[in-house]
């Protein structure tokens, strides 16, 4: 009901030229234009304009290059396979945990959240250690034990990339569907059973259609994540010359080693990638009409659980085996290889040492990368958090004309691949517009802020919607200025969302690879980049040790976050 501008000409009546509302609105637009819009426009401009003239030769050359077309097909093939398989796996586990009487649900659920915490390229590293055709530990063991002629598995393939991405992305569907199942009114299924429908018929005709919106939302997330994904295909594909669009863009730019032509080629290819992502979004919308059903209620109810009877134990074993393979094996592998005295030695006690971990502390590049990542995560966490709160306030409370545009701009970087954003940031902030941040840590910071502002904006928005405007009005009538009503009432009320907004940014920023891998300079490596470079330079055990340290760090921070959240719930 609230409109701030009943009569826009009369803003001046307040006696001030700029009201605070106007100031916040303009500031939000200006910042978002600088961090999001300008980089995007720079990509388009540099692709289609040469010396100020419109010219499509570069773009046509790039999209007709067979290597790029091949990369595009690989990207699409991998993304579709990961989406379809990930949706099936996610649905299966969601049904098992949401609707069956399988035991140990709590333990399984907490294991499903683990892939969320670690970057997929760690998994790629671990699986390459196990299943690389030349030296994979598991391959070698299978060959010697069964006397095989050649390695049975090859992780450096499209199938291998799909497998690793799958193991990281299926929880997207799982999480969405499990929560939809929990909120679904169980009487809908019960009445079908009472009407005489068989179990399988109820699942097929009642349950499945009801969770379709949740499934499709999760599948969409898998699809766009996989299309933009860099880490796994970079680790597993480069050695066998298997490229996807993100890795191909990286290759174009790093091969050109900073030459402007290379960056322009990367920019042109990014446009192709963005088109593919947008097409996927549009297709998804057209094929699966997402809509929500009213029968999914807000509060949870006790659903009717299906008795698995004889299938219970086999299903339990299958679930734990797959969870073990997906979650535990890669983590274990990273830690064990990190302990090895030298890469290639058998994984046995006499070859283990803590030296690698000790050496990490003496390694200049590693120390720098830890410092850089900590600085970047904290700084981008704090800045993007406040920026997100401000934008959410403008969108939800001030509601100016153009608030929809503001919302779209702020969540745009969320659907734009990180590698594309990185190119935009390079084009915008390495001297073309008069400001050169290239090779400094600031260019990474700007990219992180753009990339993560949507997280805190969404978290703050959800929280602000709970703060009814009468709470601020009551403060105004009590004698508080507009600014005081913000600091006394609104900000304290959304503090929990601000804290969680910070960690929503801090954690992914700590392990970021895709954006930083294009933006780092000699002294501005991040943790992700350091691990990636160590590995590509052949320091496998050091890379593993650093990855293991990172895992430990993430676990500690997560524990702290959980403690804070739990504390708040109690109080």
């Amino acid at each position: 009901m609230r409109r701030s501008n009943v009569n826009p000409d009369m803003a001046r009546l307040d006696g001030k030229k700029f009201s605070m509302d106007k100031f916040l609105t303009i500031l939000s637009f200006v910042i978002l234009i600088i961090v999001v819009i300008i980089p995007m426009l720079m990509i388009v401009y540099n692709t289609f304009f040469v010396d100020g003239r419109f010219d499509t030769t570069l773009f046509t050359e790039i999209i007709l290059d067979p290597a790029n077309v091949g990369a595009m097909w690989n990207t699409i093939k991998i993304a579709l396979l990961v989406t379809v398989l990930g949706t099936l796996v996610g649905l299966f586990f969601a049904w098992l945990l949401g609707r069956s009487d399988i035991p140990l649900k709590g333990l399984m659920r907490s294991m499903f959240t683990i892939p969320y915490m670690f970057p997929p390229f760690f998994g790629a590293m671990a699986w390459e250690l196990l299943l690389s055709p030349r030296s994979g530990y598991l391959n070698n063991w299978l060959v010697t034990t069964f006397g095989l002629a050649s390695a049975p598995f090859n992780i450096n393939s499209i199938g291998g990339i799909v497998f690793v991405e799958l193991s990281y992305y299926f929880p997207f569907v799982f999480m969405q569907v499990v929560s939809a199942l929990e909120r679904m009114d169980p009487t809908l299924e019960e009445s079908a059973r009472i009407a005489g429908a068989k179990q399988w018929y109820v699942i097929r005709r009642i349950t499945m259609p009801l969770v379709l919106p949740a499934t499709s939302a999760g599948a969409l997330l898998i699809l766009t994540s996989s299309l933009s994904h860099f880490g796994v295909p970079a680790i597993l594909g480069f050695s066998k010359k298997i490229y996807t669009l993100p890795t191909r863009i990286y290759q174009l730019i790093s091969r050109a080693s900073g030459s402007f032509q290379g960056i322009r080629e990367g920019a042109a290819l990014s446009i192709l990638l963005v088109i593919v992502v947008m097409l996927a979004l549009w297709l998804q919308k057209a094929v699966l009409k997402t809509g929500s059903y009213d029968i999914i209620k807000g509060k949870s109810m006790r659903p009717m659980l299906i008795k698995l009877r004889g299938a219970k134990i086999p299903l339990l074993i299958i679930s734990f085996l797959s969870l073990f393979v997906i979650v535990v094996v890669p983590l274990l592998m990273i830690v064990l290889v990190g302990l090895l005295r030298a890469y290639g030695l058998p994984l046995s006690m006499e070859n283990f040492t803590l030296d690698n971990f000790v050496n990490l502390f003496n390694h200049k590049m590693v120390a720098d990368s830890v410092k850089n990542s900590l600085f970047l995560s904290v700084a981008s966490g704090v800045i993007a958090m406040f920026l997100g709160v401000m934008i959410a306030y403008v969108i939800n409370k001030i509601r100016p004309r153009g608030k929809t545009a503001l919302e779209i701009i702020s969540i745009l970087p969320y659907s734009i691949p990180g590698i594309v954003l990185a190119i935009g940031v390079i084009l915008a902030w390495s001297g073309n517009l008069g400001l050169n941040l290239y090779n400094t840590i600031w260019i990474i910071l700007v990219a992180y802020i753009a990339r993560y502002v949507a997280f805190s904006m969404k978290s703050a928005s959800a929280s602000l919607q709970q703060v009814h405007y009468s709470l601020e009005d009551a403060a105004r009538s009590s004698g508080a200025t507009h600014f005081e009503s913000l600091t006394d009432i609104t900000l304290p009320l959304i503090r929990p969302a601000m804290i969680s907004g910070f960690f929503l940014i801090f954690l992914p920023a700590m392990r970021e690879l895709t954006t930083s891998v294009l933006l780092y300079g000699p002294y501005t490596r991040t943790l992700g980049v350091a691990i990636y470079s160590l590995r590509s330079d052949g320091y496998i055990v050091d890379a593993s040790a650093l990855a293991a340290m990172t895992i430990l760090l993430i676990i500690i921070v997560n524990a702290i976050v959980n403690a804070i959240v739990k504390d708040r719930k109690k109080g």
Binding site: M1, R3, V6, N7, M10, R12, L13, D14, G15, H468, S470, L471, D473, A474, A475, R476, S477, S478, G479, A480, T481, H482, E484, D488, I489, P492, L493
Partner: protein, 358 residues
């Protein structure tokens, strides 16, 4: 102590005009009720008075001070209008204790510490919330939160307090008590109170004067409770302030004939009836008496016993009338059953020219 004056105020949301050309004066130290159906613009009007929205046209005065004027380009911000407000949803700040909620307005107005202490204690006693100082709002019931909001408004201003549907969430007994309490407080300190509600009973009980708003955002009638009950200005006000029957009739030779019927009502028209031929006759259920001697005959269709009264639905040659009868009378007098033929007498019927609807 402050009077309030709206002069020709119009407010629009986009293309939708919510308040049109409204003028209203609230006198010093008066309790003014503003009542009207949900969505008629009561809250909008109050938000304009508080300074949260800007009217399209008009002036608003609080006391002698012009707080808003389109022509003179004046718009005093809400924090300097000195109004205590109890919001519809209480707006008790959930992150502050009851004590901090009540002290906040005085802190913002830079009142001295001991004085804050004294006034907050007093205000909490007035709304019977002593002992709850350390409670957080989430530990309070809806009614208790409302009382905290009232206490906060009391310390906020001694000049003008606005109550937006302030006692709707209290149970019947506490409601009664709060009405008496608000009246006492008002007599004590002489604050001007504007009381917004859609509940005409509470308004009639509490207010010195009442303004009744129409759906289109203007005022139908302003008057004391007696004036409004005794002589509602039109059919809208008549039906708004109580349960009512309306009989469509045509005036013929000093008598009223029911429409779609040959029945002529057996009483003379009041002297001040308008000359328009088509009229609606309003009569309250409690103003219809069963009288066997009356020539006006109807049939009882349905009788409902409600404990302290009987409700009868009587058909008068095709028109349905609702009749209320005190249970005591009904038990002492003649017992009526469904289907009985009954004589009717109308007390104080009101005549309103039929509004021509397009």
């Amino acid at each position: 102590m402050a009077s309030v004056r709206f002069e020709r105020v119009s407010i629009s949301y986009g293309d939708k005009q919510v308040i049109r050309d409204l003028s209203l004066t609230v006198e010093d130290s008066e309790i003014m009720g503003i009542i009207g159906p949900s969505g008629c613009g009561k809250t909008t009007l109050i938000r304009a008075l508080c300074g949260f929205i800007k009217p399209h046209t008009g002036d608003i005065y609080i006391g002698d001070q012009l707080v808003f004027s389109v022509d003179k380009r004046i718009n005093i911000p809400p924090e300097r209008r000195g109004i205590g407000v109890v919001f519809q949803d209480y707006a008790v700040w959930p992150h502050m204790s009851v004590w901090d909620n009540v002290c906040y307005p005085m802190k913002k107005r830079k009142i001295e510490k001991n004085e804050i202490q004294r006034r907050a204690t007093h205000a909490l006693a007035q709304v019977r919330m002593t002992g709850y100082e350390k409670h957080m709002p989430s530990q309070l019931s809806g009614g208790q939160q409302q009382r905290v909001a009232i206490a906060r408004a009391l310390v906020s201003s001694s000049e003008l307090i606005i109550l937006d549907e302030p006692i709707t969430n209290l149970d019947a007994k506490l409601r009664e008590e709060m009405i008496v309490e608000i009246q006492m407080i008002q007599r004590d300190i002489g604050t001007t109170i504007i009381y917004i509600t859609h509940d005409q009973e509470a308004a009639l009980q509490l207010c010195d004067r009442i303004a009744i708003m129409r759906m289109n955002g203007d005022i139908a009638q302003i008057g004391t409770d007696e004036q409004i009950i005794k002589s509602p200005i039109d059919r809208y006000v008549y039906s708004f302030i109580g349960v009512s029957n309306f009989l469509p009739a045509t005036l013929q030779g000093g008598k009223a004939k029911l429409e779609n019927s040959d029945l002529v009502l057996p009483f003379d028209l009041p002297a001040d009836v308008s000359s328009q031929a088509t009229q609606d006759i309003g009569v309250r259920p409690m103003n219809i008496v069963f009288d066997e001697a009356s020539p006006l005959r109807g049939t009882i269709k349905r009788a409902v016993f409600l404990g302290n009264q009987y409700d009868y639905f009587v058909s008068l040659d095709g028109h349905e009338l609702r009749v209320e009868r005190n249970a005591l009378d009904a038990m002492q007098g003649k017992q009526y059953q469904e289907g009985d033929d009954v004589g009717l007498v109308f007390i104080n019927p009101a005549f309103y020219p039929r509004e021509v609807t397009a």
